[in-house]
């Protein structure tokens, strides 16, 4: 009851904005290649629906693959680095440098390295590259977030490094790792889109390619439909991570 009441204001705003957009297009008689009205976008969404859905699936799969790669590499590296303070000092500047380098600038290079006929690999690699930092940083921060008194307790009872990792640091790191995953999920979609733009020419058939293709033909309504699909994809990925987060958090009942 209360939830549905909370939904009313944003829905209302959405309807008002759409109506204004539709009205403006008709009143000002804008050409549809410049700004099509929402009704035309909806029509394009239906007309190009199957193609867009297939492309969204491709982008989704590439983003998830990238998240898995970034999780394994970022998490694994954080784990190794957490064992030695000097290792962290060595690796952190590199990780930050990687993070601040614009992905667009690196994309053509990665495309060459992955092989021009393996554009899908380049897309996964680039998406993984941008998803790497939040996962690495989240896991590393989490591994060091254990209560110092609990660390002392493990000292007191002579815990082995493995016991300390398994019974104290990994469980302490979990909420931070999940937070990192949430950020990484959004970035992975961005990385995938950028990589597809750069590789161009239909080497991959993800949503970004659909956008490029529709753009080349000046089918602006279909472009907007593609953007809408990307938004929905991002939201779906975010919700999926949120769901994982909730399940894990409830299972271990971490108080946050």
């Amino acid at each position: 009851m209360r939830r549905s009441a909370e939904l009313i204001p944003p829905l209302l705003l959405g309807v008002v904005l759409l109506a204004a957009w539709e009205g403006a297009c008709r009143l000002l008689d804008l050409p549809p290649y410049f700004l099509p009205p929402p009704s035309a976008v909806a029509a394009a969404l239906i007309e190009a629906g199957p193609r867009l859905a297939a492309s969204a699936w491709i982008t989704f799969v590439m983003a998830v693959q990238a998240l898995i790669v970034a999780g394994l590499v970022g998490g694994g590296l954080a784990l190794m680095v957490s064992l030695h303070a000097s290792a962290e000092r060595a690796v952190r500047p590199l990780a930050v440098a990687l993070q601040v380098t614009p992905v667009v600038a690196v994309a053509p290079l990665v495309l060459i390295w992955a092989g021009l006929d393996h554009a899908d690999r380049a897309v996964v690699a680039l998406a993984a590259l941008v998803a790497f930092f939040p996962l690495f940083s989240g896991v590393l921060t989490g591994l060091k977030s254990a209560d110092p008194d609990l660390e002392r307790l493990f000292d007191l009872y002579g815990a082995t490094p493995l016991q300390r990792l398994w019974r104290l640091r990994l469980p302490s790191a979990l909420p931070f790792a999940l937070e990192g995953l949430r950020v990484a999920a959004g970035l992975a979609v961005i990385g995938a889109v950028v990589a597809e733009f750069v590789s161009g020419s239909g080497a991959t058939q993800g949503l970004a390619w659909r956008l490029l293709e529709a753009g080349n033909r000046l089918r602006t309504a279909e472009m907007l439909a593609g953007v809408l699909c990307l938004t929905l994809l991002g939201l779906a990925l975010n919700a999926a991570v949120g769901l994982v987060e909730r399940i894990v958090t409830v299972r271990i009942r971490v108080r946050r």
Binding site: D147, D149, L150, R152, L153, F154, D155, L156, Y157, G158, A159, Q163, R167, L168, P171, I252, R253, V254, R255
Partner: protein, 256 residues
């Protein structure tokens, strides 16, 4: 005097950028209860960590005649792992020592029963009140049958009713143990100190050096309902005055 369970002899500790503590001299006999009182920042926690062997002095010696894993430590907060239930939290010291899981869980259940939480074995820390969580922490410290029990203001955050009951229960547990562990506890509360301790050691504010060693009347174990005894009230008053005198003279000394 028999061999002390733990002794600090001329121990000093460098505090990063805040000068040094000590030299500290404190000898703890087997089975006795010592209260440490002093101003905040007087190095009470550091003294406990030295006694626990968690920290090494920069000069002087710490001798400990405690078997491995036979030191119990209760911190200011319960410091339980939120992802494990009460029983698993209490079983932790035994499992870290490599005891079989079944035995550890059984002894943990017994320790929880001893602190009055026999019916809350599978409660998560988030489901426990502050007093109950502290009881779990106490059970965790007692589960290994410690020879030396160190308590760092464990009751400071509890309401007065919960606190009184915990102190009485702690005293009863100590009195019933065979052999009785030596207990060193930090407190600000004279009544608590008089109720539990055989002697009260006053630490100097700036250096943490023991400056007074006040005996308390009525050798423990204290009789039931001792608080209602006029002798107890008298002892609290006498000790409070002696404490005040010790702290005042110490202030005068520091000023001079």
């Amino acid at each position: 005097m028999a061999e002390p369970i733990a002794a600090l002899r001329g121990a000093t500790v460098d505090l990063a950028g805040r000068g040094a503590l000590g030299p500290l001299d404190l000898i703890v006999a087997r089975g006795e209860i010592v209260a440490l009182v002093g101003a905040s920042g007087a190095g009470k926690s550091t003294t406990l960590r030295l006694l626990a062997g968690l920290q090494s002095p920069s000069a002087g010696t710490v001798t400990r005649a405690v078997g491995p894993g036979r030191t119990g430590f209760v911190f200011q907060s319960p410091t339980l792992t939120p992802w494990a239930d009460a029983q698993a939290n209490v079983a932790l010291p035994l499992e870290l020592a490599g005891r079989p899981r079944a035995e550890a869980r059984e002894r943990a259940a017994a320790a929880l029963s001893a602190v009055g939480l026999g019916d809350r074995l599978d409660a998560r820390p988030s489901e426990l009140s502050g007093g109950m969580a502290m009881r779990v922490a106490l059970a965790r410290a007692l589960v290994t049958g410690p020879e030396l029990l160190l308590l760092d203001e464990p009751f400071a955050a509890l309401d007065s009713v919960t606190r009184r009951r915990l102190i009485e229960d702690l005293h009863a547990l100590w009195a019933a143990a065979d052999p009785r562990p030596a207990v060193v506890f930090v407190t600000h509360d004279v009544e608590e100190a008089v109720y539990l301790a055989q002697r009260i050691v006053v630490l100097e504010a700036a250096t943490g050096r023991p400056v007074a060693d006040l005996p308390t009347p009525c050798a423990p174990p204290r009789p039931a309902r001792w608080r209602a005894d006029p002798a107890y009230r008298q002892a609290v008053e006498t000790t409070a005055e002696a404490l005040e005198a010790a702290m005042t003279s110490q202030t005068a000394e520091t000023a001079a």
